[in-house]
């Protein structure tokens, strides 16, 4: 006996290239069989194996892998409603706004930071996100960064040390001294709680040498590099990413031809965050240029209170299709399997046999509806490791 079969699936998107329908591995009129939290079978429903404890009737609707949101900043206090409204009235976005969240986060106690984090993770889950990465970066002291990472660890395994998010006010004019702290005492305090190390390499944040130093210091402690690169203008972020073998270069809004070539000949994923461009009224990255060059593209939310206060991967998909001319299939792949590749995970973001049974039943006959019906809550139900959530 297997534990669960989801039957009568109109469109099953597996992201299993062996399913014989391209990268998205779509099967029509399908069934999905789960046992012990893993996918054990999928295929045409008429061919499904017999004997299952529990049966769910998808009623012809679509099933997709849970979204893998590989870029989010969820440990913080306060919001930045006023800054948002001012930006929409014409004020440009700058990295400096992060400092206001740093002040609020330092002043907050752990229970309130944890409650805010859990509310956002639950909100993400309700919109289909079954794996979410979470960065520190609003503490910016050894104590506050370690505290943020410990809190993040309570909600996800994908925890990223982002001590180099911004030079905090008390280090104004002494960026190199701050980088030494990030690579020294702060790293000592933080490394035990993180899988990843990240740096904001952009104007107003950290330069090429500082960024490389941070990522290499993290790597020397077993953390895998990822990077905020080329969001606010052209810069060295992607070069640094490829040089240190980062898992992902995130944002990629302003790329040179050599940046695109470097990504294409590397294993570094380009993670695009269109909700940030939406909420900062900035130009969108050129996804088609990256896809044409053969770069692996992921989509993530960048959820944070400053530049992208959304957990909605369906919104990111709709924006990727509307604004970056990704096809609905490409956008779905990037929001699931692409995110998994950005996190160097092969057990999530797909529903191949052996994958984790993290999946979403949509209130729609196909995954295309996530772009076709923007803003509509299309998530009917979510399973993580074979268990129905919520």
């Amino acid at each position: 006996m297997t534990s669960l079969v989801v039957d009568n699936i109109g469109t099953l998107l597996t992201n299993d290239p062996d399913a014989g329908a391209g990268a998205t591995g779509v099967v029509r009129d399908a069934a999905l069989v789960v046992d012990s939290g893993r996918v054990v079978w999928f295929g045409p429903r008429d061919d499904q194996p017999e004997g299952t404890d529990e049966r769910v009737d998808a009623e012809g609707r679509a099933v997709i892998p849970g979204f893998v949101d590989s870029h989010a900043h969820l440990v913080f206090a306060g919001d930045r409603t006023g800054e948002f409204a001012a930006r929409m009235a014409g004020k440009a976005y700058s990295a400096g706004g992060i400092a206001s969240t740093v002040a609020a986060t330092r002043a907050a106690d752990e229970p309130s930071l944890g409650a805010n984090l859990r509310a956002l993770v639950a909100e993400a889950l309700a919109s289909g996100t079954t794996t979410i990465e979470c960065k520190s970066g609003y503490g910016l002291t050894a104590f506050d960064e370690a505290r943020s990472l410990q809190i993040a660890s309570s909600a996800t395994d994908e925890v990223t040390y982002l001590g180099a998010h911004l030079v905090p006010p008390e280090f104004a004019g002494r960026a190199d001294d701050y980088v030494e702290l990030v690579c020294g005492e702060m790293l000592d305090a933080c490394a035990p709680f993180a899988r990843w190390v990240d740096v904001f390499c952009d104007r107003g944040a950290f330069d090429r040498d500082q960024s490389r130093h941070v990522l290499e210091a993290g790597a020397s402690r077993g953390l895998i590099p990822r990077i905020h690169a080329n969001q606010l203008g052209p810069g060295p972020g992607v070069e640094v990413a490829v040089a240190v073998g980062a898992a992902s270069a995130d944002h990629c809004s302003y790329l040179s031809d050599s940046d695109v070539d470097a990504l294409a000949s590397s294993s570094t994923v380009a993670t695009l965050l269109p909700a940030a461009e939406f909420s900062t009224r900035s130009p969108y990255p050129d996804a088609r240029r990256l896809l044409a060059a053969g770069v692996t593209v992921a989509l993530a939310s960048d959820c944070n209170p400053g530049s992208s206060f959304t957990t909605s991967m369906p919104l990111c998909i709709a924006l990727a299709v509307r604004e970056m001319r990704m096809s609905p299939d490409e956008a779905l792949w990037s929001a699931t399997k692409g995110g998994a590749e950005a996190l160097r995970r092969d057990d999530i973001g797909n529903l191949a046999v052996g994958a984790r049974a993290d999946f979403v039943l949509l209130r729609a006959p196909s995954h295309v509806h996530l772009a076709y019906r923007p803003g509509v809550q299309l998530v009917a139900a979510v399973w993580r490791q074979g268990k129905l959530c919520g």
Copy 2:
């Protein structure tokens, strides 16, 4: 005893100019008192009257009037996923796609049309829409249009006769003959079931004279004119709207200076439908130009399976702020009070004393979050005429 008090409201948006805080009539730390389905009091919570049957604690969150979605096409069968995907891959939107929905709608039986309508109205309600207009326009025979309007009447009082949505295939090359049908036998069949008459005045649909004829014929039977105007290009739609005293000119994407002047010196509302521009990848209307000229602006969803398959007024608000540079306050007003003005209703779209108690509790401290948190389901609960929905 009054029937309900909503207490501890962080931000109450009343749209009551007499509340003394501009057009949105915002009150902080407020309470709202309801009796017999109407607002009987609002103000600072410390001043609230005593004695109430039921008390709801808003926990510092925001309360806004229910959205008034004054433009939707909800009686149809089938969807147009393939046309959407082709459009996103570069194919231009044209009015002709409507014909595929006409064929599917004619072939559908009443129970399935009614079920689809009710599902969309429920979806809209769950995202905060307490009043929704509904047009016919996918029948295009006397029988099918009257049937559509009867079905629409089962779900809303705001029913619009849109026999002149498109010249149906069987009248190809005989548009004037079709207009005679719309103004004759079809109008006879439809007038009893509708409050409004509408026409799609644009290239590929109906011209100036045809449009005026349709609206005047409807008006002669007691239907109030509204119009699809200037969506696909410059044209006579707004001129016709003002000439016949239409309640609203909808779309307004391509306006001349004289169109703007005409709207400003009329009682015709300009209803903007940014989700249609989002889903057809078209230029957005210039909301600031209209607002600067003193035109009353409404926001609506245009929900339909071809050009805007969303019921989400929060998405429309986010798009209005991001893409049309409306302030969050302006966008909220237009999605509530603006929609009510487009439907010539003063009992909805506001929470002044005497208004219908149609309101929404947000999962957020202010209404600004509807734009600040795009794609997130922020509707915590909805009341219609003082009764909790769902």
